[in-house]
Symmetry: C2
Subunit: 515 residues, 2 copies
C-alpha cells in the first residue's frame, strides 16, 4: 500500500458537517459555511480498510496493483489526466447490492472516499479520476441483464451492462433502449451522468428511460427508489435526483429501464447548407412542426473537412454546414411521407445538396460520417501529443445559429484547430478544440467564452457531458450561487462526510490538490 | 385572530433538527429519530407575523376572514375534509417571487408553517387542508403568462396560471401544453403534484414538461433550478426533486414550460369488449407496437352504466369494459392509417363494438362520456351526503387486467357502489368507492386492499394523485422504510423546521391532531 494520507481529520470523527447552517434552519450551504473535512486517509486507515475488504470479498476482488490503479484513474478522453496523486488506493469488484452496501459501511466507518466506476467514458473528469485517493468500486462483475419484462417493456439490469450490449440483446426481440452516449458507456455511469446522444431529439435523455433504481447511500443504506409502473406520483422523485448527480449522492446497484419498440425502416439523409443559419432554420421547422425524425445532427464545415480527410467514408462531402438526419417508422410509406416533408422544408431554406439513403447499406455508409466525426477531428491533431478540450453548450434553439457562428469566429481567430458539431434538435452542440502543451490557456479561454455566451442566451454550459472537475466554477454562473449552495446542502444531508466522489460538480473548500 | 397555539416549541428555537442522525454521518432519518418540533403557533407569534405581513403586503392582501379560511382549508373533492382545527391562521396574496421570499422569511423567523395554494383541486389532502394552522400562500394574483418564446417552444408562467386558460391562449398560435389533470388545476399545484391525465400516454407527465423553475425555499432563499434549453446536465436535477414533492420542499413562484405543436386532425374511438382482459390486451398491443394514439382510457362496465344513467351523452353505450381513444396527427391520412392498425388489433382481440368519430362534432360527443365519467359516477350516490374515496394504483401493464378484475370482485362483494376507470396506456386506473357515513371503514378497506395488491404486482399506490395525508402509511410499504427515511432526510435538510406543508407525504412523529 503506497498511498499516504492526503487529508487527515481536522475535526473529530463525530463532528457534524453543516452544523452552523442547520442550527439556523437554513436551506442552503454556501462554500464558506462548509464544515471541516473528516477524511482519514492515513496508511493505517487504508490498510485496515483493505484488510476488512479482503475479508468481505476475498483478495482477488480487492485490487491494489499500480497498473489497475492507473487505468482506473483517468483515460485519454478525460480532461482530468490523472497522475501520481490521483490514484485510487484500491479497487474493489462487488457482485451484489449487499456487497456494495458492506463496502460503503467499511469506507464510511473509516472516512474513506468512494468512487463508482463502470464504463469509464466520462469526458469531464466526473468518474475517471479521483482527487483524494480512496476506494474505487468497479462494476465489471455486476454486468448482468437480470430480467426482461417483455409485455411491460422494461428490463432490470446491473450497472455494468453496456448500452450497446443491451441493445444487441434486445433488438432481435424487437425492443430498444434509446440513450446512446459515447461507445463503451455502461448503465451505472449513464445514470450518474444523465447522458443522452444522437437519439435524444426523438426519444429524450437518460432521465426519461429509468423507471427506478436500487441505490446504496454513503452510509451503506440500501434504498429502492421506485417500482416498475410506467407512471408514479409516490413521493419525492429520488430516481431523478440520482440521475445526473455524477456519483456524488449514491451508488446505483440496479436499475429498471423503460424500453420502446425497435426502430424499423431506418433511412438517413445528409443535407448541406450555405450557412449555419439556414441549416438551423430547417431544424427549427422540423422541431416546430413536431416532425418525428429519429436524429437531427449538425456538423460544421470544418468537421466535414475532417471527415473527408480522415477517409472513414467512401465519399467526399461538401465542406459546409451539414445536417445528418435519421428516419424510422412503422411502414416505408410513413417514413417516405416524413422525408418528403423534411425535403420540402430543406429546399425552402436553400439547401445546397440533399442525399437520401436508398437501402440499408447506404444507411450505414451515410451515417458513418456522423459516427466517426469526433475521431476524424482528433486525426487532425498536428502533434500526436496534442490534447483536446470540449464545450457542451445547449441553448434555446432560436439562439443556436448565433452561438455556432460566434464560436466558429472565435476558433478561426485563435489559430487553433477546432469545430462545432452536435445535436441541433436539442439546441446542444459540442465545441472541440485541439491544442498543444503551450496553448492550454488559449483553448480554455475559447471554451469558457462559449460557455459564458450560452449562459447569456439562457442556455446551459452542459447539455449532456456534465460538470465533473473542469466546469465547477463556471456552473456557479449558470443559475447563480443559490443553485450550487442548494446542491451542496443536499449533498451534505445525504453524504455528511462527503465520501461519494468528492470535489465533483461543486467545490467543498477543503485543501484541494487541484486548482 | 382566533387561532390558538396548537404546537408550542418543545426545544429551544435554535435546536438543530436531525442532529442525532447527522452526528453519525447517516443518510436517512427514521421516524423515531425525528428532532423535536419548533413551531410557534402562540397567539402572540401569529399576531406579530400578521402585523409584519400587513406591513409587507398591505391589509387587503392578508386575509383572516373565517369564510376564506374555510374555503382554503378543504374542498368537496378532498379526502381531508377540514374542520375547526384545520384552518389556516391567515391567507396571503403575494404578487412576486420577492414577496414570497419575504413572506417565507417572516414565517421562518417565527416558526410558522406555510402552505402554497393555487387551483385547490387536490384529491388526497395534499394542499387543500392544513394540519397545524399557519400561513396559506395563495397565488391568485400571480396568474400571468410572463413570456411565450414561440421559436423555442417554451413559455414562462406564474404558478396561478390554469392549464386550461394556458392552452386557450396557446392553441390559436398552434402550441400545446399537454398535462391535463382535474379541471381548475393550476401550474403551481400541478408541479407540486407531478400530475398527469389522459394525455400522459402520448405525451408523458408534468415532469416531462417543466424545463426549470424559480423556487422559494423554507428560509426564503430564492433558487433558479435551470435555464431554458431543452436538455441539460448541469448539476442535480432540482427541478425534478421539486416536481411531485407536494409543496414540502419549496414554493414554486415561476416555471418555464416546454410546449409542443397543437394536435390536429383529432378523432375519437370507442371500443367495447366482453372482458377487461380483452380490452387490456388490445391496449398492450398498442403500447408494444408504439402506436402513437393520443389517449388510451379504460372505463369498466359499471362506469359505462353510470354514464348512460347520468345522461350527459346523447347516446347509450354497451355496459361492458370500454376503451376510449384519441388520435391526432399531421394529416388525415396518417390518422386513418393509425386507426386502421388499432381497429385491426381490437378485432383480433374480440372487440364487441367499435365506433369512430366522423367529424369534430362527433369527437366532442364521443369524448364526453370519458370527460363526464367521474361526475356520472358521483351522480350514483344513494344519498347526497355520501362521500367517496379513490385509489390511484398503477401497475406494470401485464398485471392491469388482473388488478381491475380483482377490484371489481371486491367492489361487488362489498355491496358499495364503485368503479374502475383510468389511463390504461400507463397501467394506471382509479378505483372510486362511494360510501355513507357508517361505511367509511369498509371503503377504506377496499382502497387499501387495491393498494396492497398493486404493490405486490411491483406497482405503485399512486400513478398521479399523490400521497397527501391519506396514504402516508401505505407509502412505507411500497419501497420499504429506507425510501421514506431518505425522503424525510432530504426534507429535514432543505426545511429543517418542517415549515412547508408539514405532515404531508410522510409522518414527522410530532403530536398530530389526525390519526
Amino acid at each position: 500500500m503506497s498511498s499516504v494520507a492526503l487529508y487527515s481529520a481536522r475535526g473529530n470523527s463525530t463532528s457534524n458537517p453543516g452544523d452552523s447552517q442547520r442550527l439556523n434552519g437554513q436551506s442552503t450551504t454556501p462554500l464558506d459555511a462548509m464544515p471541516v473535512a473528516v477524511y482519514d486517509l492515513t496508511e493505517k486507515s487504508l490498510r485496515d480498510a483493505e484488510n476488512e475488504l479482503v475479508t468481505l470479498l476475498g483478495a482477488e476482488r480487492v485490487i491494489t496493483s499500480l497498473g489497475e490503479r492507473i487505468t482506473h484513474s483517468s483515460t485519454e478522453w478525460s480532461v482530468a489526466p490523472g497522475g501520481d496523486l490521483d490514484r485510487h488506493s484500491f479497487i474493489v469488484h462487488p457482485k451484489s447490492t449487499e456487497e456494495v452496501s458492506a463496502i460503503a459501511k467499511i469506507c464510511h466507518k473509516r472516512r474513506i472516499p468512494m468512487i463508482a466506476f463502470s464504463g469509464g467514458t466520462s469526458l469531464e473528469g466526473t468518474l475517471a479520476a479521483t482527487t483524494r485517493g480512496g476506494c474505487c468500486i468497479d462494476f465489471q462483475l455486476m454486468n448482468k441483464v437480470i430480467q426482461l419484462h417483455a409485455k411491460d417493456m422494461d428490463v432490470v439490469v446491473q450497472p455494468g451492462v453496456g448500452f450497446e450490449e443491451l441493445n444487441a440483446q434486445l433488438d432481435p426481440q424487437g425492443y430498444f433502449f434509446p440513450p446512446d452516449p459515447g461507445p463503451g458507456a455502461q448503465i451505472g455511469g449513464m445514470i450518474g451522468q444523465g447522458c443522452s446522444g444522437t437519439n435524444a431529439y426523438r426519444y429524450g435523455t437518460m432521465k426519461d428511460w429509468v423507471l427506478g433504481m436500487t441505490v446504496v447511500l454513503a452510509d451503506g443504506t440500501i434504498v429502492r427508489t421506485r417500482n416498475r409502473p410506467r407512471k408514479s406520483s409516490a413521493g419525492y422523485n429520488l430516481t431523478q435526483l440520482m440521475i445526473g448527480s455524477e456519483g456524488t449522492l449514491g451508488i446505483v446497484t440496479e436499475a429498471t429501464l423503460k424500453l420502446t419498440s425497435a426502430p424499423r425502416n431506418i433511412r438517413v439523409a445528409v443535407l448541406a447548407f450555405k450557412t449555419t443559419q439556414a441549416a438551423v432554420d430547417t431544424a427549427i421547422e422540423i422541431v416546430q412542426n413536431d416532425m418525428p425524425v429519429a436524429a437531427l445532427e449538425l456538423l460544421d464545415g470544418f468537421t466535414m473537412k475532417a471527415v473527408n480527410q480522415a477517409g472513414y467514408c467512401d465519399k467526399q462531402y461538401p465542406e459546409i454546414p451539414t445536417l445528418f438526419m435519421k428516419f424510422a417508422g412503422h411502414t416505408p410509406q410513413s417514413v417516405q411521407e416524413l422525408i418528403d416533408r423534411v425535403e420540402d422544408s430543406a429546399k425552402r431554406n436553400g439547401c445546397q445538396s440533399l442525399e437520401f439513403s436508398k437501402d440499408d447499406k447506404e444507411v450505414a455508409a451515410l451515417w458513418m460520417a456522423r459516427k466517426t466525426a469526433l475521431w476524424s477531428l482528433l486525426a487532425m491533431k498536428e502533434n500526436p501529443e496534442d490534447k483536446f478540450l470540449s464545450a457542451d453548450a445547449a441553448v434555446p434553439i432560436s439562439r443556436l445559429a448565433d452561438l455556432v457562428e460566434e464560436t466558429t469566429e472565435l476558433l478561426n481567430k485563435s489559430g487553433l484547430i477546432g469545430s462545432c458539431l452536435g445535436h441541433v434538435g436539442d439546441g446542444n452542440f459540442h465545441t472541440t478544440v485541439l491544442y498543444g502543451g503551450s496553448d492550454k490557456d488559449k483553448a480554455r479561454q475559447i471554451i469558457s467564452t462559449v460557455q459564458k455566451r450560452a449562459i447569456e442566451m439562457e442556455g446551459t454550459i452542459t447539455g449532456e457531458h456534465g460538470i465533473g472537475l473542469e466546469y465547477r466554477d463556471m456552473l456557479v454562473n449558470e443559475n447563480g450561487p443559490g443553485f450550487v449552495d442548494m446542491m451542496r446542502h443536499v449533498k451534505l444531508a445525504l453524504d455528511p462526510y462527503c465520501l461519494l466522489n468528492p470535489d465533483k460538480l461543486f467545490r467543498v473548500n477543503w485543501d484541494a490538490k487541484r486548482d
